[in-house]
């Protein structure tokens, strides 16, 4: 949710620092082929002119059939652990991951949803306001790939059209053997149809997990900065965005803060 605030705390760990734009998994199904940050974005970052982006928490929602490994994927990335035992997620859970992208702090709130049908009515309440929708499937179970279309549809229903980055992620890559190419070809085809970026990962070995989330973070960050720049240029034409700062009325110098002069001047 755009208005929420991440806990800005100590510096982020070194492997959450993103300086160059992370690459796609396959050019056959990716959201963009650029290998550098958008010009406007790098410029804004260099000048430290990224507005509220550093304070925001971007929302990532992970959906998909039960037992495809959504929780394992998130835990591998956020806690660097892998648990062999299956434990169904009850309703929803979340993790916060802090990054530093192009020198600017940036946080993802990653929502882990239950794949079990009986929890769908609870989990779906958490779909809205997402910047990223990750639809996961099990590379060794074609049925779960077939179901991704429905999962995506459900998640998109709660969001503005075009507001979310979509990812189609095949899990359990370590278990994939002979039929690998066939499954991946089908997944790539489906990803293109969904206008999603395709990745295949293994939470067990950790393969591609960090690369994938770095890609998610960078793309989300870039869009957030671009949107912020656009909003502020609009705000400049209007009369500030006084909504963001509200002072308590007992402050003697309240009137100063109602004036936009100190906001959006660049």
């Amino acid at each position: 949710m755009r208005s929420s605030l991440p806990p800005l705390g100590p510096p982020v760990s070194r492997d959450r620092v993103i300086t160059s734009f992370p690459k796609w998994y396959t050019p056959a199904a990716c959201l963009q082929l650029r290998e550098h940050f958008h010009g406007q974005v790098s410029a804004a970052c260099q000048r430290g002119n990224t507005g509220t982006v550093g304070l925001k928490l971007s929302k990532v929602v992970v959906v998909g059939d039960l037992y495809v490994g959504k929780t394992s994927l998130i835990h591998r990335f956020c806690k660097n652990v892998f648990n062999r035992d299956y434990k169904a997620t009850i309703g929803v859970d979340f993790e916060i991951e802090r990054f530093e992208v192009a020198g600017i702090p940036f946080s993802l709130q990653i929502w882990d949803t239950a794949g079990q049908e009986k929890f769908k009515c609870i989990a779906s309440a958490y779909y809205r306001g997402a910047q990223v929708i990750i639809t996961a499937f099990d590379l060794t179970d074609v049925q779960t790939l077939a179901h991704t279309r429905q999962w995506l549809e459900d998640a998109l229903r709660e969001n503005e059209p075009g507001a979310c980055f979509l990812f189609l992620v095949g899990t359990k890559k370590d278990l994939l053997s002979g039929a690998a190419e066939q499954v991946e070809a089908e997944a790539v085809r489906l990803a293109n149809e969904m206008q999603a970026e395709y990745w295949s990962v293994s939470a067990k070995t950790g393969e591609n997990v960090k690369a994938f989330f770095s890609r998610v973070a960078a793309l989300t960050f870039e869009r957030a900065v671009l949107q912020d720049l656009e909003q502020r240029s609009n705000a400049w034409l209007q009369v500030g965005d006084g909504d963001l700062i509200r002072m308590e009325s007992r402050l003697p110098d309240t009137q100063d803060n109602t004036r936009p002069s100190s906001l959006g001047c660049c």
Partner: protein, 227 residues
Amino acid sequence: MEEPPLREEEEEGDEAGPEGALGKSPFQLTAEDVYDISYVMGRELMALGSDPRVTQLQFKIVRVLEMLETLVNEGNLTVEELRMERDNLRTEVEGLRREGSAAGGEVNLGPDKMVVDLTDPNRPRFTLQELRDVLQERNKLKSQLLVAQEELQCYKSGLIPPREGPGGRREKDTLVARANNARSNKEEKTIIRKLRDRGGFVHLGDKSKPPDFRTTDAGCGRSSSRR
């Protein structure tokens, strides 16, 4: 008196011998026991010799024993019959009960209903809304925990000087100022301090909506966001 076919077997199991039958409860008595008693009594009468009074008594005793035999046989037959009748009724009742519960289930339940075993400790018993509430509460607590952990991290790494702690951070909804980026770090810090010292604070977003983060620490947030 006819000898019933079971006599040999019974005698084998009867360790007390023919005399044992006299020590039994009258309700446990079988025809065999009556034969044992008559054997014992006959033997004793024989020992008394051939006095005609003894012979007289012997006829009466035989008659009494015959009556006893009839009664015992009759009684045992009745017990056996009653026992069989009881068992039949029991099976009948069980059958009816089973039919009844199955029929009752069909009558009460629609296609989307299910039966809950109230003695099952794992039976469903919480509502969806209760689960929703618990999850929301959990999420709220988790986010507070994360905030607290980060804050602790700030103290540990010296981002927040310890002395600033209690005084400057009384407000739980502490401020997060989103100020002009062109300002210098120093200027911002001063503004935040000023706000804090006056007890005023800045809100961002709607505080009523769980489960996202609502509070963060200004001192901590600033220092890390403007490195």
